[in-house]
């Protein structure tokens, strides 16, 4: 019954398997707080857009469906942006331009086109929740490595004690690329190993 929910978390993880949404996953993973904030904002927009598009799918003419999806997504992003500015101003300030840029995140448009316009409300809700959790989880994994090794803290709380020498580069742009490279390599390694075992 919940198979649409679970597929997005591991089997079709938007970042690790479908390789979508790379920009925010590099830019907002400097700290776990930012990554979780981004994941939450992203999930809320995705749930809203999947629900709305699934509800109005029969009214949208085939030829203008992509622009219509973009209007729905951009309106939702604007709402989320204003909510975040009002209620979590710290996270809003540190995520900066990446909140409005959720509009051009290919995962959301991709789910609208590939899933929500063919399925009912309940399935679309599950799909959005699953993809949202999957993406947030992927962001959290990358952010955990970067924040823990780059500053010795997690969620701002010191973990390794005062003697730890932080690998400062991991929280800089160069560290984002290198962490992402190794995380992708690990995912590939696990996938290839399971293919050998099963296939």
């Amino acid at each position: 019954m919940l198979k649409e929910l679970t597929k997005g978390i591991i089997k079709e993880n938007p970042l690790f398997v479908q390789l979508l949404g790379v920009c925010p996953s590099l830019a907002t993973t400097g700290s776990l707080t930012n990554a979780l904030g981004m994941g939450a904002a992203f999930t809320m927009v995705l749930i809203g857009s999947n629900l709305i598009i699934s509800a109005i799918k029969s009214f949208i003419p085939e030829q203008v469906r992509i622009p219509s999806y973009i209007v729905v997504i951009a309106s939702l992003v604007t709402v989320i942006e204003m909510l975040m500015e009002a209620f979590v101003p710290d996270i809003y300030a540190s995520l900066g331009i990446f909140i409005p840029l959720i509009v051009v995140n290919c995962i959301i448009l991709g789910r609208a086109e590939a899933f929500a316009n063919k399925h009912g409300l309940w399935d679309s809700l599950q799909d959005a929740l699953g993809m949202g959790i999957g993406f947030s989880l992927a962001l959290a994994i990358i952010a955990t490595f970067r924040e823990l090794l780059g500053t010795g803290k997690l969620l701002g709380i010191p973990v390794f004690g005062p003697d730890y020498q932080p690998i400062l580069i991991l929280i800089l742009p160069a560290g984002a690329f290198i962490t992402m490279g190794f995380v992708f390599a690990a995912v590939n390694y696990l996938r290839q190993r399971s293919e050998v075992r099963h296939g």
Binding site: V22, L101, V103, A174, I178, F184, A185
Partner: protein
């Protein structure tokens, strides 16, 4: 930093759109497998980026700001960029077939390229004047071209060496990009 030279230098080296701001990464990783595609993509990005900057500046200061509608900027910018790309493609197909052939396939992809919308939003955020916005767009486009062209040359070489299976393609490309980003880190702090 607000002088013409400052903006261009900053946009190319200090806050490079790809290597330090992480915008436009999909195209950076997607079409950088050979030099020819990289050049086509960067030409298309540069062209649309400059046009989109002009358009979004005019819309923002003529229509949105005077009527207190600035909160609609994301919605309005993305729609006007999508329309602009469509019009440019139609115009090019009819009047400049050679140019359309060279960068035609890349144009539709650009609508969802976050670098374009990103620059439109950054220009407004920093309160740039019209001239400064265009300067920033030109510098950013030059920075994008530099990064993607150098990266595609490196990636062509990466096809050959032996490496563990799991490192092939994307992981090693990201680690290469990290080395390029380290090279630019030396420039940070120059204003």
């Amino acid at each position: 930093m607000d002088s013409t030279f400052g903006i261009i230098f900053g946009a190319i080296f200090v806050t490079n759109i790809i290597l330090s701001q992480f915008l436009g990464l999909c195209s950076f990783l997607g079409v950088s497998k050979n030099l020819k595609n990289a050049l086509g993509m960067s030409a298309a990005v540069a062209f649309v980026m400059i046009l989109a900057t002009i358009l979004s500046w005019v819309i923002y200061y003529l229509f949105l700001a005077p009527y207190d509608l600035v909160y609609l900027k994301t919605l309005v910018f993305i729609l006007s960029i999508a329309t602009l790309v469509q019009l440019v493609e139609m115009f090019m197909k009819k009047n400049m077939p050679t140019l359309h052939k060279a960068m035609g396939v890349f144009l539709p992809l650009i609508t969802t390229n976050c670098a374009i919308l990103g620059i439109a939003l950054i220009n407004v955020q920093r309160d740039y004047t019209f001239i400064q916005s265009i300067t920033n767009a030109i510098g950013t486009a030059a920075g994008y071209t530099m990064a993607i062209v150098l990266f595609s040359c490196l990636r062509e070489r990466l096809e050959c060496p032996e490496m563990p299976m799991c490192m092939r393609n994307l992981p090693i490309a990201l680690i290469t990009a990290s080395c390029m980003s380290i090279a630019l880190m030396g420039m940070s702090g120059i204003h």
